[in-house]
Amino acid sequence: MTAACAATRDPQAVPATAAAPLLAVEGLGKWYGPRLGCRDVSFTLHPGEVLGVVGESGSGKTTLLGCLSGGLTPTTGRVAYHSEAWGPADVHALPEGRRRLLMRTEWGFVRQNPRDGLRLGVSAGANIGERPMAVGARHYGHIRARALDWLSRVEIDPARLDDRPASFSGGMQQRLQIARVLVNGPRLVFMDEPTGGLDVSVQARLLDLLRDLVARLGLSAVIVTHDLAVARLLAHRLMVMKDGRVVEEGLTDQVLDDPHHPYTQLLVSSVLQA
C-alpha cells in the first residue's frame, strides 16, 4: 500500500497527528473450524480516526469487529491497543478483568440491535448510569445528573429518564445505547451497523448525532456497516471486505469516488445509485 512508504520515509511528517497509534492490528485471522471468518487483516488506527469497514453480509466485518474488541479470539495475528491507563497492551493477552474494565472506560461497543446493548428491565437513567457505577460512582444525585445530561445530548426527552427502554422506539433505544456507551468518555468505540434496522428518517437523525458526537469528543472508532452512505458520513477511512479479506482501503472519499477493486466498483455502482 502506498501510504506505508510515505510514512516510512518520514515518520515525523505531521507531528500533530503522528502520535502512537491507538490500535495496531497485524495479520488478524479467524477461522470457525474450516470456515473462514476473516484473514490477513492489518491496519493502524490513530487517535481521532474513524475507520469504516464495509462489505456485504458474510464478508467478515462482524467477525473482524469481534476480534478487535476482544470478544472473539483470533486464530492468527494480534491486536495491540495503546491504553491510556496501562500503555501498550496485547488485547487478547489481557486478563479478562482488564478487558472488561477497558470496555467500561476507554472503549465502547455499540451493537446493531439496541436490545443487545441495553438493560431493558431498568430505567434509561440506570442504563446510562451503569458504566459510571461500574467504575465507582457512588453518588446517586451525580449519577442521575450525568444521565440527564446524556439523555439531552442524544436528544431524548429528559422526562423519559425513569422510563424503561422497552417502551422506547427503535431510534430512541439506539440513541440511549449510544449515551450508555459514551457516558464514561471512551477513546475508542466499536460500532456494528449502528443504523441498521432503523427507518431511513430515523437513520438520518442518528447519523447526524453520531457524526457530531464523534467529532466533538474526538473519538476514534471502527464502524462496521454495509451502508456506503453511512460510511461516507462517519468514516475518515474505509476498508472494503469481501470473503473475509480486505480488498481495498483508503480515504473514504477515495474509495467511494475512485474505487479500484472490481468488488468495490460493483458495490459503489450498485448502492449509490439507489
Binding site: 501510504a3 510515505a6 477511512r237 480515504l251 477515495q254 475512485d258
Partner: protein, 241 residues
C-alpha cells in the same frame, strides 16, 4: 518533506510531478480509460492557474487528484503543509486529512448535502475543524453567507431543499471560510448569476492577494480572464493503453 527557504512571494505551494491516471472499469468489461500521463504542474503562492482543455481531458480528474480524492497511478503531488512538504499521493490517510483541514480547500462542483445539518454549520465546519471557537466559526460563516446573498432565514435550514445556485454558494462559502493557503475550485461560478459570480471572483482575488495558491476549472472565459494568471492546458488522449 524538507524545509524550503524560498521567499514567501515566489514560494511554490504545489509541485505535481509525473502524474499519471487511468481508470479501469471492472464493471464494464475491464475497460481502460487513460486520462493523463507524465503530467507536471507547479503552483506558487498568490497565483491562480486555470485548468484548460476540452471536456474529457481530465481537468476535474487532475483537480481531484491534487486533493487526493482520486488516486494516481504514478507521480507525486507535493503540497507545502506548514513547514513540511507532504506527498498527497502517498501520505497516510490521517496526514492527507490534516492537509485538507489546514492547507488545502476544495470547492467541488456540487454540494454534498448532509441530512439535518443547517447551512450555517455546513459552512462553519471547516473552521471548527481547524480549532476555531463555535462562536467565531459561526460568525465568519454568517458573514460569508451574507456576502454571497444567502438570506439569513435559510441559515438554519439544511441545504438539501435549496436551489442549485444556493447550494453552490453554500459550497463556495464552505471552501473560502477557512483562509487556507491552497484552494482547488471546480467550476465555482457555474450556476451563479452575475452578481454572485462577481462576489466569487472577488473572493478568489482576495485569496490570491492574501497569498493563496489557486487552481481552478472555470468554464466561463470571462471568469478565466478575470482571475487566472496562467492556464494549464490538458490535451485529449485518444489511444487506449
Amino acid at each position: 518533506m524538507t524545509h524550503d527557504p524560498t521567499p514567501a512571494a515566489a514560494r511554490p505551494m504545489i509541485r505535481a510531478e509525473g502524474l499519471g491516471k487511468t481508470f479501469v472499469l471492472h464493471t464494464q468489461g475491464g475497460a481502460r480509460i487513460p486520462v493523463f500521463e507524465g503530467l507536471d504542474l507547479t503552483v506558487h503562492a498568490g497565483e491562480c492557474i486555470g485548468l484548460h482543455g476540452p471536456s474529457g481531458t481530465g481537468k476535474s480528474t487532475l483537480l481531484r487528484a491534487l486533493y487526493a480524492n482520486y488516486r494516481l497511478d504514478t507521480g507525486h503531488v507535493w503540497v507545502r503543509h506548514g513547514p513540511d512538504w507532504v506527498d498527497m499521493a502517498t501520505a497516510p490517510a490521517r496526514v492527507v486529512l490534516d492537509v485538507r483541514r489546514r492547507t488545502v480547500g476544495h470547492v467541488s462542483q456540487f454540494l454534498r448535502v448532509i441530512p439535518r445539518v443547517p447551512a450555517l454549520d455546513v459552512v462553519a465546519e471547516p473552521l471548527r475543524l481547524r480549532g476555531a471557537s463555535e462562536a467565531e466559526a459561526r460568525a465568519r460563516a454568517g458573514a460569508l453567507l451574507t456576502r454571497l446573498n444567502i438570506p439569513e432565514r435559510l441559515w438554519s435550514l439544511a441545504p438539501a431543499t435549496f436551489s442549485g445556485g444556493e447550494q453552490q454558494r453554500v459550497n463556495v462559502a464552505r471552501g473560502f471560510v477557512a483562509d487556507v493557503p491552497i484552494l482547488l475550485l471546480d467550476e465555482p461560478t457555474a450556476s451563479l448569476d452575475n452578481d454572485n459570480r462577481d462576489v466569487v471572483l472577488a473572493l478568489i482575488t482576495e485569496a490570491k492577494q492574501a497569498g493563496a495558491a489557486v487552481v481552478g476549472i472555470f468554464h466561463d472565459a470571462a471568469v478565466r480572464a478575470a482571475v487566472c494568471d496562467r492556464l494549464f492546458t490538458l490535451t485529449p488522449r485518444t489511444e487506449a493503453a
